[in-house]
């Protein structure tokens, strides 16, 4: 009996499967190999750290994409939850000295808890309101972080001495077959393994009942309510999960950087995360990771090659008309505007278009 083409969807269950085609499985193998081998061949600490920060950003961006891309709720408060996670890592991992398997979930839980407390207030109203309430959250959070000196070190910040040991493996100094690897290499394995876990978790959320519910809310909230989706419950749940992801990313960020200060959790950080999901692709998990890599890499490239970009001042005494920081902000703004106007589904859509072209080849549609 002739077997149907693997791309043919015959049952609903087929449509929901994670790895439907052989190509998808091959991709999975390629990605795992890339994950294993990248730190072995890429030994430059600068580019490794760029990749690590991009991975950390990807975790937060996956969370924001669940809230903004899948539920359609705009949050400007992501920076607050990232900061909260970093301080939990400092307190639980650093001051109490608990291991990785405790401080990481503790941060995520704390973020989720704070999200659960704030969510019901912030999500009572439709549309624009959440953006403004969460904007207030960034400023209130900034005030709290600066004044809770015992925990956060106030304006001068605090060091984060959380350890990164899982069983016999210390990610700060990995040894494989007698070869020693530096901290950035070890953290690459840790961070990107967590990215994969978070992506899998998020994917599983969006392909099951709660995922369909939140997408229904995004598409038309009144219609969703009519078919029996409890708006309040699902919106708050999306906010809670998104806050948990953000705090998890924040905890990793703090522990990796080993030092955090309240100057980092600004509105601009929230905007960066929004830029990541817009550029990567709103409403796709894969897009959040893609966006994090792209926008994490971009400032690094600018920083590294700013000498050769005309008009950019690398030092205060330089005669360029725009500083690296300003240039980054302007580029983030420009990318948000251009992508929303010309490719609202982001980089992920470019990839899907290429795929669709080859699928339909030699026909144009």
């Amino acid at each position: 009996m002739a077997r149907p083409h693997p791309n043919l969807t015959r049952r609903y269950a087929d449509d929901l499967r994670l790895f439907r085609t052989r190509a998808a499985k091959a991709w999975l193998v390629v990605l795992v190999l890339l994950w294993l081998l990248t730190p072995m061949f890429l030994t430059d600490p600068f580019w490794l750290s760029v990749l690590n920060y991009a991975g950390i950003a990807a975790i937060g961006a996956i969370g924001l994409n669940l809230l903004t891309g899948y539920t359609g709720q705009v949050s400007l408060g992501h920076a607050f939850f990232i900061g909260a996670g970093a301080y939990v890592a400092a307190a639980v991992g650093g001051d109490l000295g608990l291991p990785l398997v405790l401080w990481l979930p503790a941060a995520a839980l704390f973020g989720a808890l704070v999200g659960a407390v704030i969510g019901p207030f912030a999500l009572r109203l439709r549309g624009n309101y959440l953006a403004i309430v969460t904007l207030g959250l960034v400023f209130l959070g900034d005030y709290v972080f600066r004044n809770l000196e015992g925990l956060t070190g106030g304006n001068s910040g605090t060091s984060v001495t959380a350890e990164a040991t899982l069983g016999p493996v210390d990610f700060n100094a990995v040894t494989i077959l007698g070869d020693e690897y530096i901290r950035n290499q070890g953290w690459f394995w840790l961070v990107w393994a967590l990215v994969a876990l978070c992506a899998l978790l998020a994917k599983n959320i969006v392909r099951t009942r709660p995922g369909r519910a939140i997408q229904a809310i995004r598409d038309r909230d009144v219609a969703a309510e009519i078919v029996g989706v409890e708006l309040g419950r699902y919106k708050v749940a999306a906010f809670v999960v998104s806050s948990g992801f953000a705090a998890l990313g924040g905890a990793l960020y703090g522990a990796y950087q080993q030092y955090v200060s309240p100057d980092e959790w600004t509105l601009f950080l929230s905007i960066q995360y929004i830029a990541i999901i817009i550029v990567g692709g709103v409403g796709t998990i894969f897009g959040a990771v893609l966006g994090a890599l792209f926008l994490g890499g971009l400032p690094a490239v600018i920083e590294n090659y700013s000498d050769s970009i005309p008009g950019v001042a690398t030092t205060a005494a330089d005669d360029g008309f725009i500083s690296v920081f300003s240039l980054n902000q302007a580029i983030f703004g420009l990318l948000i505007v251009l992508f929303l106007m010309f490719e609202p589904r982001g980089l992920a859509a470019l990839w899907l278009r290429v795929k669709a072209y080859f699928k339909a080849w030699p026909f144009s549609y």
């Binding site: 903004t68 207030f121 004044n147 709103v282 420009l334």
Partner: protein, 298 residues
């Protein structure tokens, strides 16, 4: 008592600036249903244009302000024409994000042109003050209150009396019915952005007056004007004014008394007070003091 009056005066002067910005938000929100996050950039742009006309070109201050307001309005209408009009019918999320993107672009363009330094705007008010019953009032604050009052009077007259103002109210009330009456939605959108940018420019000038007060960060006032808009109600111009005054007063009074009354709150609580007020209002009256309650039927 003197201290109280002093704080109240300062609060009202601050509130007048919030009111100007919040009014700009409301005009755009009523016409297009969009919250314009780029308002802060328009505030800074107005102030820097005034600087360019008054200090750079050496024009009389009043003329410089007028030119800056006109240029800002043209810029606002231009933004609407080139960017926002393409987003009509897109999800709210996308439109908000576009305005945030514009905020970052315009702000950085301003720093690229004029730099990060604090500048002295050539305003005629300087640091002069007048005293009345022991209350010291800065001349620039008095002018701010005067300008705000004049603008508000003109604003409400425009919306009550002029054909275009009535057309804009009709569009805000029911866009399709207004369209059927022959009111051009495009014209209404463009004029809304122009008015809003003009108001922002005025707010920028009043903020930048005084010694070395003009810096790229003055656009941040728009972020505090959000609570003013929410407190008043997003679609109510009168609410924006009341909200601005309430936020200005509470912020000044908190900054003045918090250290004596509640020292455990730590530093700078006054700066976040507007957001606390906003959250309380959202809990008690989600649609603001003067806003229209949204009716949903399922």
């Amino acid at each position: 008592m003197t201290e109280f009056l002093q704080l109240c005066f300062n609060g009202l002067a601050l509130g007048a600036r919030y009111a100007l910005v919040a009014l700009g938000f409301v005009v755009i929100y009523r016409a297009t249903g969009v919250i314009n996050f780029a308002q802060g950039a328009l505030v800074a742009l107005g102030a820097y244009l005034t600087y360019a006309f008054a200090n750079g070109a050496g024009l009389p201050f009043a003329l410089a302000v007028l030119l800056a307001v006109l240029c800002s309005s043209a810029f606002g209408a231009g933004l609407e024409r080139t960017v926002l009009r393409k987003m009509v019918g897109e999800p709210v999320f996308a439109v908000i994000m576009i305005t945030i993107g514009l905020l970052f672009i315009v702000e950085q363009a301003i720093t690229a042109i004029w730099g990060f330094d604090n500048l002295n705007l050539a305003d005629p008010w300087g640091v002069e003050t007048v005293g009345a019953a022991d209350v010291v009032m800065a001349v620039r604050d008095l002018w701010t209150l005067g300008i705000a009052a004049a603008v508000l009077a003109g604003f409400f007259a425009f919306f009550r009396l002029s054909a275009l103002g009535v057309a804009m109210r009709a569009t805000a009330f029911d866009a399709e019915a207004a369209l059927a009456q022959g009111i051009s939605a495009r014209r209404v959108f463009a004029v809304s952005w122009a008015i809003s940018a003009g108001l922002a420019a005025l707010a920028g000038v009043t903020l930048a007056s005084g010694p070395a007060a003009l810096s790229p960060t003055i656009g941040a006032i728009a972020l505090v004007a959000f609570p003013a808009m929410i407190v008043g109600g997003m679609d109510s111009p009168a609410g924006a004014v009341a909200g601005g005054m309430i936020i200005g007063l509470t912020q000044a009074l908190t900054a003045g008394y918090q250290e004596d009354v509640a020292p455990w709150l730590g530093q700078n609580f006054g700066a976040v007070m507007p957001y606390v007020v906003m959250i309380v209002i959202l809990l008690v009256r989600p649609y603001g003091l003067f806003g229209t309650r949204e009716v949903r039927r399922v």
